[in-house]
Symmetry: C2
Subunit: 187 residues, 2 copies
Amino acid sequence: MTDTKTALLDSAERAARTRGIDGFSFADLSLEVGIRKPSIHYHFATKGTLTLALVQRYRIQMDVACVDIDSANPTGGARIAALVAVYRQALNGGTSLCLCVALSASRESLPAEVITQIGLYRQTMITWLVDAFAAGQSDGSITDLRAPQDEAPATLSLLEGAQLSARAAEDVAIFDAATRLLLARVS
Amino acid sequence: MTDTKTALLDSAERAARTRGIDGFSFADLSLEVGIRKPSIHYHFATKGTLTLALVQRYRIQMDVACVDIDSANPTGGARIAALVAVYRQALNGGTSLCLCVALSASRESLPAEVITQIGLYRQTMITWLVDAFAAGQSDGSITDLRAPQDEAPATLSLLEGAQLSARAAEDVAIFDAATRLLLARVS
DNA sequence: GTCTATATGTGGATAGAC
DNA sequence: GTCTATCCACATATAGAC
């Protein structure tokens, strides 16, 4: 049985990822969680605070996911493929985005701290990707490999762009088409 | 001297691309264009109508841009490089997105017709990209070339994702880092 | 075509009781 | 911690005069 704060975060994350940060209100959370609108302010003073908590929790979750990928996949190529699967999973059949993409979109309605956190998230992912590509360089599990520090940001942008366009059309096939080439290199 | 309708579209496009479709109101347009809020409804019945006009005009502009690229650049590689430049230009120094990316983000607040238009836009771009990559296949202006029908969607997603992350950090260097590998293949 | 005046809804947020 | 009641700002949109 989850506590109210966690339930609010869960509801807010689902809402933000499917409808955007401007696409949900405290009234929506109130309905889903089952407490009155003003009670939300007891847990999160402002919507900005709530969003900050959201992105901080998300960063931790993704750090864990990356560690899990590393321990489950010995080769660099397999790690990249696993990350593609994570981003594909976040699409939820074409109905949602990962939190980072969802928030980046509505940048103007975010507190500065949230924007900072988004930048930190991307930096973490790029560092992880550089390591994964470097591993692929050593173990030969990735074909046509260029400099890992160039492959990494290109791959992150590819995944985010693929997610965005697939979500727009509500069609996972668009994500698959966009990532086909990358997956062919690592499998 | 532009007419009021065009001025409204210009103002709305700038606003949508920098702050998102939920990030501007008729009050903002009213201030910029210099007519009262309700007068906007004379030109566009609803905000949805305005958005539809926006994306239709955008599609035409991009069609023209693609034709211009083709006539100015003989090789497939040069055409891809020119499209990258168009997407980089749309970033406006890290302060705005292309309309397609900006609208895709706030999908839930869009009329169905607008979503259809966004899908058509992406289809047009992918068709153009397939042709450009195919041209590169013939003229040898692109290295490490795989199937054009796989390269095309990957490239569009890369450009959109690169734009999104660069805009989030308000830093064009992030766009450049993400597109470095692609540009190295075509230059 | 543009105006004033207004309707109507909804947003986030606060005060204070329990 | 959660409630009721309420505030205030702002959103899109309409009615009707000029």
